[in-house]
Symmetry: C3
Subunit: 140 residues, 3 copies
């Protein structure tokens, strides 16, 4: 039984959804030694989020941003407005998508469907670098 | 300490939310041997999802579908439309509900509230069979 | 390798989002002994939920309630209405936020961003006490 934990920093990206599967994998090389296990990916922020979605057509990422703006519009009667009109919607989107993904591991690889990838969703207009905590556990 | 992992196939269901707790349990018989642990259920698709919700009144499943269609309507200005008008909303719903549930295990049983059950939400009009990965860990 | 599991009861709170990080921590004192691990917090109900969001400005909690009411309004054509107009929206919100959070543990502490806290979101007008199952695992 092994536990491994690393913190990685993803560089700032523009507002929207971005595929980060390869960056996550690069951050946890011990994955290749796990026969059965789980990889937990957790973001240390409340205005960006992690989710799993379609990894092939970049248009899906554009449409996810469209849908997120529909779900959490900037013109609701928010009280928390000091940090700009994109801030409170960012907090809402962050809870809707969630701060983490938990992915099965088998024979040294993530078990993902053919079309699944890990998304970093940046909900701020100017979000800055984002910190992820990767926690791997399993049977070697 | 035990790790067990199985992949199961759920038969195609019509669009909407379906209670699948018993099918999940049937797929992981080793659950009965775990004193304290966690069961992870993960769907290998991006247009169907898993969630936990009310297990008693089938009307709740009907209303969840109503609410999901309100949340992710088909008439947003989507770019990814080649696979039909139900496809991009399916991807949105899939991230809103999420691809997995993680449930405590105690004394050989899932620890669920009296009214909690596992839902498979099929977001496509014609979705096909769906693959789930069950990962069980815990103290025997 | 250690597994610890406790059930705690949070007293009834008014409808809305509430910061409960300290109540969760008080319920799992063994956290201090874990070098690397994960804490799973799971709510045994389908009309209240758990999420992670901003821990500093109480206005964010007010605005989360505003956004949740926008996402799951009471006036959709619901079938399940016997338990009152706030019941079915509560089930929708419960799946949107989710029944659990899973948080990394390092050197005896939760690994959370500076602005992250655990929210209990009460979606009923009169919700009653809420049961949480805390499952801790990790390397001592």
């Amino acid at each position: 039984m092994a536990w491994r934990q690393h913190q990685i920093t993803l560089p700032a990206v523009r507002r929207g959804c971005h595929l980060v599967t390869s960056q996550v994998l690069a951050g946890i090389p011990e994955l290749s030694q796990i026969r059965i296990g789980l990889l937990h990916v957790f973001i240390l922020h409340t205005s960006a989020s992690l989710t799993i979605n379609e990894n092939a057509d970049p248009d899906v990422r554009i449409d996810m941003e469209t849908a997120l703006n529909h779900l959490a519009p900037e013109n609701l009667p928010y009280v928390h407005t000091l940090e700009g009109p994109d801030d409170m919607p960012a907090h809402v989107k962050s809870s809707l998508m969630g701060p983490s993904v938990l992915i099965p591991v088998k024979d040294g690889r993530l078990v993902l469907g053919a079309w699944q990838g890990i998304y970093l969703c940046e909900h701020r207009n100017h979000g800055g670098p984002r910190q992820l905590v990767l926690t791997l556990q399993g049977e070697e």
